[in-house]
Symmetry: C2
Subunit: 442 residues, 2 copies
């Protein structure tokens, strides 16, 4: 039996899973605190749905029944994000949902990448979106990134900064300086971090026939980054004028000011953000973890005026998505976030001999009834060995039935005291497993 | 855009998802109370792993990259249960796990069934297993089903009865009455519920060449069902004798008596249980929900002496599995289990006019900081309409900023009182969404 990890399909040891579960729980409870409903969609979508937006076709995993007819082409693929499923879910259930529909979704997605690239082919994504029917007020553009800021602030991770730009601002600016194919400009500017300013200028001129001045203007726009609405003056100083540009500037200024008035320092304007390939129509967001900028954006999204269109019905939305597995992979693999113990049990009930196992099981039952996670020793070896078994799992307390009655020992201090299984409580901090960042908040 | 459900891939509205999530949370917290570690394995396994046990080959979904080379055969399939992944995970990580390894796993599994059959092709399974290295004490056969009994007792579902038999008992009995191919007897007896006793007797005689007396003995064994260890005498009364039979009788008697001494009435002996196709070697379990016997077994499992074999290393285990989606599908679809409201929000903050939205957002912030799930009205329509918005989502409280200060209104009673957003608390029962069985415990 050959056993080996499969590239791109991450899996954790139980300790790592405790961290992942804790992060997912924290995201979920934060999203619910903000009034978002949890949704879980099936893992598959019809292939034509998955390919609707083009570009991503290369990343789809198709499903085929092993015993299906030979030559029969699959029409189902695994979803590669949670936005395509959301669009379909909203349309399918529009008559039964309350709009604006606030939903969060934390699920695995799959990308049929070539295995060699060391990319994730299966990973958790955590999305929050609000979807309107017909219209969606601009204040949701402020609400959504702040949900993510609140969520990140509760994770055992370094602080996050959400940066925002605006598609109308960029497009309006490019139009004003004379670009025609503004989509392509966005796509090229999106590569700024990868290829640098010189290459970028070159590509704009060569691919799009831009003048040197136009290329310089596009570059100058992309370098504007301010902690407040002062980007407006900086853009104006570049000289471009236009209605779409004005609209974008106003939207972004309202977003940055509105967000920072609720959570000071939560957001910055960063006009380098293009999110070139996506279908955003207004606000766009990216987020960086301080000290881990090389991870790239850990939480991204934006406003889309048409999540779905069905005849005359329009469903605009705004949302952000966290690539949970990619993020955690760094922190779990490097041991930067660790659980306080390896197992859920807080108490380990020792067993004197197998004849007394039912008594030990009853002690455990009583502790569990009061919410204390409890394991019972799997054998009745010498007490020293049973204490060692607890200790190597990080279980803080061992329960003994002695000739002097029931006793509980704190494995960390060696202190052993008499205890009643119907009333004894461990310190609150020891009941559940705590998850802590090791270096993250230094 | 054609939008339709895909047969076999269940999906819930947000209300249904609240129920599903609650059930999953309850299972998880119970499993952790009993000291089981959560594990999540990748969704795919190499095809040769999936096909190792035969028989299930027809149910595998293969993955193919849409852009993969034509003619290249897939070597990855989606897992169809959580036992094959557990076996692989244990072997892959044996050096890093503590044995006995107690793990729970709640994940989706996929079965590549033909779509016509109306079967589930994607569904949640919840498994608990304990796996030993080299050996595994028999007391775990008592521990594992009781974990499930404890879990079910906390679910908003009707009471469950776990029934057990023993593979050695059945095999020893069949051998003693003269059957040679005991595997085939098990497989045929497993169909008792489906085909009835007459057909069964016929099939045993026709397929296996059994005498009428042998067929009758097999049938008589299968009708034995006792709430305690009295099945031993009933089996003895059938006249068969043998070492393997004795061993099985003793194991099952210890199991039933041990379990019922800890949770009276938790388990029954039911010698009709064969679980024919599985790889169990000792205890076997099935469970029925009272009043929903037609669902069949909702939680099944058993003891396997060889979960994995790798050279000389042996990993025996015992575990049970709940088919969560199949179970919930009945209770959600029939409205037998419902949430106390449709959304997580407990408070809905009204907005006087858009200029005062930041004030409303700050009220919400203060409530959330104290753990109260809060939504803010998406518009500033008339108060009556905002109250209606809250009411149709089932949100119990609406917060108003009035000329007389901050006030909160209980939508259910219409009572409105002055409140401070930094100290006001809703009744504890209203903070989270409660999930209740409607008819289940009548």
């Amino acid at each position: 039996m050959k056993i080996a990890p499969i590239s791109g399909f991450p899996e954790w040891l139980p300790e790592g899973r405790i961290v992942e579960q804790k992060v997912i729980d924290t995201l979920r409870s934060t999203f619910e605190l903000h009034g978002f409903s949890g949704v879980e969609t099936r893992s598959v979508e019809p292939l034509d749905q998955l390919l609707r937006k083009g570009e991503t076709s290369k990343e789809v995993y198709l499903l085929n029944r092993l015993q299906g007819e030979e030559g029969q082409k699959s029409k189902l693929g695994l979803h590669f994000d949670l936005t395509v499923p959301l669009a379909r879910y909203v349309l399918e259930n529009a008559g039964k949902l309350d709009f604006p529909f606030k939903r969060y979704q934390i699920q695995k997605v799959w990308r049929g990448e070539r295995p060699q690239e060391g990319r994730f082919r299966e990973f958790y994504q955590a999305d929050v979106d609000v979807v309107g029917q017909g219209e969606l007020a601009p204040h949701h553009d402020i609400e959504l990134p702040l949900v993510m800021v609140d969520a990140f602030s509760k994770l055992p991770l370094p602080p996050v900064v959400v940066r925002a730009s605006n598609r109308k601002l960029a497009q309006g600016f490019y139009e004003a300086v004379g670009f025609e194919d503004t989509e392509s400009v966005l796509r090229i500017v999106d590569k700024l971090d990868k290829i640098g300013p010189d290459k970028l200028s070159e590509e704009l001129q060569e691919t799009l026939g831009a003048t040197e001045a136009q290329a310089r203007a596009a570059l100058e726009l992309a370098t504007i980054r301010t902690p407040d609405a002062s980007f407006v003056d900086k853009v104006r100083a570049l000289g471009a004028r236009g209605d779409l540009l004005d609209e974008g500037l106003e939207e972004l200024a309202n977003l940055i000011e509105g967000a920072n008035s609720l959570i000071p320092g939560a957001m910055q304007a960063d006009l380098s953000i293009a999110r070139g390939l996506d279908y955003y129509t207004g606000s766009v967001y990216e987020s960086t973890l301080i000290g881990h900028e090389d991870l790239g954006s850990v939480c991204s999204g934006g406003r889309y005026d048409n999540l779905v269109e069905a005849g005359k019905r329009k469903f605009p939305g705004v949302g952000l998505s966290i690539g949970v597995s990619r993020l955690l992979s760094r922190f779990i693999d490097r041991g930067l976030v660790v659980p306080s113990r390896k197992v859920p049990a807080c108490v380990y009930v020792a067993v004197n001999d197998e004849g007394e196992r039912p008594h030990a099981a009853r002690i455990a039952q009583k502790l569990r009834e009061r919410g204390i996670p409890t394991d019972v020793s799997h054998n009745s070896s010498k007490f020293g060995k049973q204490i060692k078994n607890a200790d190597k799992r990080g279980i803080p307390f061992v329960w003994f039935t002695t000739s002097e009655g029931e006793q509980v020992r704190d494995v960390r201090t060696g202190e052993q005291v008499s205890a009643n299984p119907e009333t004894w409580m461990p310190p609150a901090k020891d009941i559940g497993v705590d998850v802590q960042g090791v270096l993250s908040h230094e």
